[in-house]
Symmetry: C2
């Protein structure tokens, strides 16, 4: 997906919020903001939105000297999600269509605001889970079921820490020997890296690779050649969350997108109302 004009104010707001998360030093916040404004003023709008996210977070790392500012938060997210895991797994197993329930819970993991505070609000999580299990879905799990059954190789593009525990519920319903999960090559925001895949128990379950990149989503130009070969060779790809949608929605591959359409721009690009739960296929 290309960058729309409406993404630009959002970049600027995100740059400020993200820098404030990492440092209280107003001079550093100002420098990151100015650098974001300068880069945005010259940005190629045919680029995808995560390319600006990459630029912003590289600037934050460079100007603060903090390599992985979200490390502690990611660990807390994983722990909070793991505490929910046994009960969620039981719900999947008892569902009339476990694959459907697992896909919906994976999307719920994309919705839950792990936020800044480490503790999850139990009532809020329960409401989100219940909604995700019953809300109308754009698309259906049947296409995914067929594609997965026929695929020799399935690549699962993970999204964030915490959320990756919810992904595990869906991954467990896939033919495990044929599944590879991809995480980020190095820290970017709260995106899942190999540490998070390990914390979520995925490394004992399936092959987990990293994509060699420090960009949000899956910005193929920044990924390692090894990852790009795996991406090319995959028969079916599951892409989780908005940033993965933004970066690979124009790639000609059989990709299933699992996400909540949280912003107007993405909802318009997908062709659904804001807030929709999406399990949409992109045919090759």
């Amino acid at each position: 997906m290309r960058t729309f004009l409406d993404c630009i104010p959002c970049f600027v707001r995100q740059a400020l919020d993200a820098t404030r998360f990492v440092t209280d030093d107003v001079r550093v916040q100002e420098r990151v903001l100015r650098e974001t404004l300068r880069a945005a003023s010259e940005m190629d709008l045919t680029a995808t939105p995560p390319e600006m996210g990459l630029h912003i977070h590289r600037a934050i790392r460079e100007l603060t000297g903090v390599a992985d500012p979200y490390r502690a938060v990611k660990e807390e997210f994983n722990e909070a999600a793991l505490a929910l895991y046994p009960e969620l797994k039981e719900r999947v197993e008892q569902a009339p269509d476990p694959l459907d329930a697992a896909a919906r819970l994976a999307i719920a993991g994309n919705i839950i605001d792990f936020g800044v505070q480490s503790r999850l609000d139990a009532a809020e999580v329960e409401a989100t889970v219940r909604d995700a299990l019953t809300a109308p879905l754009l698309g259906s799990v049947d296409g995914l079921r067929r594609a997965v059954a026929a695929a020799r190789s399935i690549l699962y593009l993970a999204d964030n820490a915490g959320e990756i525990v919810f992904d595990r519920l869906l991954i467990e319903r896939l033919p495990l020997p044929r599944v590879t999960v991809a995480v980020k090559g190095s820290p970017i925001i709260n995106d899942a890296t190999m540490d998070d895949a390990r914390a979520a128990g995925l490394t004992d379950l399936v092959e987990v690779i990293d994509n060699g990149s420090d960009a949000p989503g899956t910005l193929l130009a920044t990924c390692s050649p090894a990852f790009r070969r795996r991406f090319e060779a995959a028969d079916v790809i599951l892409a989780k969350g908005q940033a993965n949608y933004e970066t690979v929605s124009d790639v000609e591959k059989p990709i299933f997108f699992l996400l909540k359409a949280k912003c107007e721009v993405i909802a318009r690009d997908i062709g659904c109302p804001v807030g929709s739960l999406v399990l949409a296929a992109r045919a090759s």
Copy 2:
């Protein structure tokens, strides 16, 4: 008031919204947005926020070739407000403290969202008027009453079209021969110019001057020497709305600010909660 980091994302959003109001041409919208980003990346943060507003709206005028894009909207705002005027005037006259009621209604004029549609929602206006007449006020009308009684010259810095009809209610309670109302020298957003002062019936009531500027608020450096002399010579100044606060809050003059603190940054600068109705004096 200086520019805070939180103002920057707001500038970018406003630039996009304002350009979209003036033109459907996405290329022009993009050019204004890029110019705003470039200017903001280099902005002197000791400047007041309306200096960026001025820059944005000059760019919009230049790139669209439309000198006064809000002309029709301003006329509609004035007419809508004039339709309310007789009833509001009666409310002032029947109030236990007419000056207090008039000041509160002038602030109500700062609150009512004349928006993009020309018709006002009658129920919404009535709710706003009722709230403004009864809500707690930061400051009190008594200081204003004393200052106005003692002043030989009173300068009233008007804000927007439409709102200026509400200002008339307060101006009518002031010693008219000693009052001068200042409007913008040329069009900027929906700010009141001489045409609007005339439409509101103010030119028949008091002296109305223009400030020679095309900036929001009262950016003295962009005002005419004649206006600056009048500003200097005034014993008491009434400054209406946020942009006037932002531009003259640091000026050492007896200024009464009448506004609703609509954003976090201004509320923090004033030292009140967001949403407060303010009638605050700045002592000389």
